[in-house]
C-alpha cells in the first residue's frame, strides 16, 4: 500500500471517484485551473475538463445552493468551501436547505452532495480559517459529518461520502494535510459511516477524539504508556452518525474517559460525547469524564494559537485527572 499524506489521499480519491462516476462534478473557489489552494483538486481540471471541474464565483451560499440544484438534476456534486470558517456565509443553505430538501419534499428531491472544507488550527492561518464548528453542524438534522484523522480514512470516508445518497460534510484537518501520512489502500476502499475506530488499545482510560485531535490523543497515549497507563484511543470518524455502541463499549471497558476537541468548550461536540456516555455508560464510570477543549474564545491569532489548541500535555494532564 502506498504511503500518502492526507491531501494526496483526498486528491487520489477525487480522481478515482470522478473516473468511476461521470456524474461527479467538483466545483468551488480556485478548484479548477489552480487545483485548489491546498492542491486537493490538482489535476482534475486537466483530466476531466471544464464542465466537471468548475471555478465558481466567490459566494459560498450560492456554491452550496447551486450544489443542491445540481444534485436534484442528477449530478453528484462535490463542492469545496475554501475554509470551513466561510461555511458561515452558507449556513442558511447548508442547514436550512441542503440538509432538509429530502425531508421537505418527503423523499421526492434528494441531494447526494458532499461539501468538503479544511478547518482547524496549528498552521498560523489568518482569522476564521481555523474555526472548528462541527458541533454547530451536528445540531442540524439531515447532515452527515465525516472527520477523518488518517489518510486511509480520508480516502475511505470520502469515497463513501460521494456515494452516500445524503448530504455529507467532509471536514479535513488543515494541519493534517501534509503532517498526517499513512498507508492508503489502493483501489476501492470504503469506510462506512458511524463506525468508530480503535486507534490504540488500552483498558485504563479511553480518549475519545476525532479529526486531528486523534493524532494528539495517540501521542498522549504513547507518552502515557511509558508511565504504565494504557490509554485506548477511539476515533469517532463520523460524528453524525455517531457510533454510540463503540463509545459505550470503550467506557464500559475502561471506566474512565477523556474527550478531546479543538473547538471551544461550551457546547462543543465533546459535550455531546459526554452526554452520550452519561446516557449509555453512566454506571461504568469511575470518575467524571475529563474534557479537553479550545477555550471559550474566538480562534486566536498566530502568536497565541499554541496556547489555545489542545496539545499532548493537556491531554496527558486530563488523563491523569480522569484516573484520580
Amino acid at each position: 500500500m502506498p504511503v500518502m499524506n492526507m491531501v494526496q489521499a483526498i486528491n487520489a480519491t477525487l480522481h478515482e471517484e470522478m473516473a468511476r462516476d461521470d456524474r461527479v462534478v467538483v466545483f468551488g473557489q480556485d478548484v479548477a485551473v489552480n487545483g485548489g489552494v491546498f492542491r486537493a483538486t490538482e489535476g482534475l481540471y486537466d483530466r476531466f475538463g471544464g464542465e466537471r471541474v468548475v471555478d465558481t464565483p466567490l459566494a459560498e451560499a450560492a456554491i452550496v445552493g447551486a450544489g443542491v440544484g445540481l444534485g436534484v438534476a442528477g449530478m453528484v456534486p462535490v463542492a469545496e468551501i475554501q475554509f470551513l470558517g466561510f461555511a458561515y456565509q452558507a449556513f442558511h443553505q447548508i442547514v436550512g436547505q441542503m440538509a432538509r430538501l429530502r425531508y421537505r419534499s418527503s423523499g421526492r428531491l434528494t441531494v447526494p452532495i458532499v461539501v468538503r472544507a479544511p478547518f482547524g488550527g496549528g498552521v498560523r492561518t489568518p482569522e476564521l480559517h481555523s474555526d472548528s464548528i462541527e458541533a454547530q453542524l451536528a445540531n442540524c438534522p439531515g447532515l452527515k459529518i465525516a472527520m477523518p484523522s488518517s489518510a486511509a480514512d480520508a480516502k475511505g470516508l470520502l469515497a463513501a461520502a460521494i456515494r452516500d445518497p445524503d448530504p455529507v460534510l467532509f471536514l479535513e484537518p488543515l494541519r493534517g494535510y501534509r503532517a498526517i501520512r499513512d498507508q492508503v489502500p489502493e483501489g476501492e476502499h470504503l469506510v462506512p459511516f458511524g463506525e468508530a475506530r480503535t486507534v490504540r488499545g488500552g483498558d485504563d482510560v479511553v480518549i475519545v477524539a476525532w479529526s486531528y485531535m486523534v493524532e494528539i490523543a495517540r501521542r498522549a497515549s504513547v507518552e502515557l504508556e511509558q508511565e504504565g497507563i494504557a490509554a485506548r484511543v477511539l476515533d469517532l470518524r463520523t460524528i453524525v452518525p455517531l457510533d454510540t455502541g463503540a463509545i459505550r463499549e470503550a467506557v464500559e471497558a475502561c471506566g474512565r474517559a477523556v474527550v478531546v476537541q479543538e473547538a471551544p468548550e461550551t457546547a462543543g461536540f465533546a459535550s455531546e460525547v459526554i452526554a452520550t456516555i452519561n446516557d449509555e455508560a453512566f454506571y461504568s464510570l469511575e470518575a467524571p469524564v475529563a474534557r479537553v477543549s479550545g477555550w471559550d474564545v474566538p480562534y486566536p491569532v498566530g502568536l497565541l494559537e499554541d496556547y489555545h489548541v489542545p496539545n499532548v500535555e493537556r491531554v496527558v494532564a486530563a488523563v491523569r485527572r480522569a484516573l484520580q
Binding site: T56, G65, A66, G69, A73, S105, R108, K144, L242, T244
Partner: protein, 352 residues
C-alpha cells in the same frame, strides 16, 4: 358553450386561440377560488397560515402557460401554488396537504416538476440556478423558472444566485413577483434601484419589466426568456409588477400600514377583471362561462380537500425522509416516541 370554442384569436394582442385564452382565464379564476377556499379553511382552523394569491393570478398563470410541464421545473416562493395546476391536478391536493401541516405536502408527485414552497426568502434562487446548470450539463431541453417576491430581492441569495446564473449562462428564468409589499414594507424601502428588472445589470443578463396584471404580457415575456434559455443564451430576470390585493397572509392586517385608498385603487385593476373584460369584449367569455369556471373550481377544490383531509398522519413519520435511512440514534428515538405514546396519541401538554 361550444360557441366560444370556435372563436377567433384576439389579434393583435395574442396569437392564442379562443380556447387557449379561456383556459388562461379559467386558471386565474380557479387560482383565486382555491386560494380563497384555503383562506376560509384557515379561519376554520383546518389549515395553518397561508398567503393568498390575490393579485398574482395573471403573473403565475401567464408564466406557467409559457413553460413545458414535461421538461421545465418551477421553484415557487409560497404564494403561487394555487395557480400552477397546469403542472398537474395533484398540485392542488398537495398544496392543501402542505397547508394542513402534512409532511407529504412538500412532495409534488412525479412527474410534476415543482419544488416545495420556499419559506426562507430567496433561498431557492441559487438552487434554481444549480438545477438549470445541471440540466445544461446533462443536455436536457428544459428550463427552470423560479418565483420570488420584491422583498426576496434584498437577500444575498438573490444576488449570489443571479450572478452565478450570469456566469454559468444557466437556462433559468428569474421571475420577480413585485406586488408592492413585503409584509408591511413598501418597495421604496426595499431598494433605491429604478426597478427590480434593473438589477439584471449586476448579473450581466437581460432584465425585463412586464405588467404582472396582464396574463398575456407575462406569458410572452416568459416565453421569450424560455426561448433564450433553451437556445443557450442564458438567464433572464423578469420583474412582473402587480399589487397584493389582500393581506400578506392569514396572520396579517394590512389596514395597519397600507395607505388609505391604495388597495381600493389597485382593485380597480384586478388582473382577473382586466382579462375577463378583454375576453368579453373579444366575445370569448360570458357570464355562463364565468359561472361554470367557478363551479368547476369549487368542485375540484372539494375533491382535493376531501382527499387531503382523508390522510392520516403517523406520528413516527417524523423520522422518515431525514436521511435515506434513519441513523441508529433516530431509531432509538422512534422507539422512545412510540413507547411514550402507548395508545394515547400525542402527549399534547398544551391540552392539559
Amino acid at each position: 358553450m361550444a360557441m366560444t370554442e370556435t372563436q377567433d384569436r384576439i389579434a393583435p394582442r395574442s396569437d392564442l386561440s379562443g380556447t387557449e385564452l379561456q383556459d388562461l382565464l379559467r386558471r386565474m379564476i380557479a387560482a383565486r377560488t382555491f386560494s380563497s377556499r384555503c383562506f376560509s379553511l384557515q379561519r376554520q382552523g383546518r389549515i395553518g397560515t397561508m398567503a393568498p394569491i390575490d393579485g398574482a393570478e395573471a403573473l403565475v398563470v401567464g408564466a406557467a402557460a409559457a413553460l413545458d410541464p414535461a421538461r421545465d421545473w418551477v421553484l415557487p416562493q409560497y404564494r403561487e401554488l394555487h395557480g400552477l395546476l397546469r403542472f398537474g391536478e395533484e398540485v392542488l391536493e398537495t398544496t392543501i396537504r402542505y397547508l394542513r401541516g402534512d409532511p407529504a405536502g412538500g412532495h409534488f408527485p412525479a412527474p410534476i416538476r415543482i419544488w416545495p414552497p420556499q419559506i426562507a426568502l430567496a433561498a431557492q434562487i441559487p438552487q434554481a440556478v444549480g438545477l438549470a446548470w445541471g440540466m445544461k450539463l446533462r443536455r436536457e431541453e428544459g428550463v427552470v423558472l423560479t418565483f420570488f417576491g420584491d422583498g426576496a430581492t434584498s437577500e444575498g441569495d438573490f444576488y449570489e444566485g443571479g450572478n452565478f446564473a450570469g456566469v454559468l449562462r444557466a437556462p433559468v428564468v428569474l421571475l420577480c413577483n413585485n406586488n408592492a409589499w413585503a409584509i408591511s414594507t413598501p418597495v421604496r424601502l426595499q431598494t433605491a434601484a429604478e426597478s427590480f428588472a434593473a438589477k439584471a445589470a449586476a448579473f450581466g443578463i437581460p432584465g425585463e419589466l412586464v405588467d404582472g396584471r396582464d396574463v398575456l404580457a407575462v406569458r410572452d415575456a416568459v416565453a421569450r426568456a424560455r426561448e433564450r434559455a433553451v437556445a443557450g443564451d442564458g438567464p433572464t430576470l423578469i420583474e412582473a409588477r402587480a399589487y397584493r390585493l389582500g393581506p400578506h397572509t392569514t396572520a396579517d392586517d394590512p389596514s395597519r400600514y397600507v395607505p388609505p385608498g391604495e388597495l381600493e385603487a389597485a382593485r380597480q385593476r384586478d388582473p382577473i377583471d382586466l382579462f375577463r373584460r378583454e375576453l368579453e369584449a373579444a366575445g370569448v367569455w360570458n357570464a355562463g362561462l364565468e359561472e361554470e369556471a367557478k363551479r368547476d373550481a369549487d368542485a375540484r377544490f372539494d375533491r382535493a380537500l376531501a382527499a387531503a383531509e382523508a390522510v392520516a398522519i403517523e406520528p413516527d413519520s417524523l423520522f422518515e425522509h431525514v436521511y435515506a435511512s434513519p441513523t441508529a440514534r433516530m431509531e432509538r428515538q422512534r422507539r422512545q416516541l412510540l413507547d411514550g405514546l402507548g395508545d394515547r396519541g400525542a402527549g399534547g401538554e398544551e391540552r392539559r
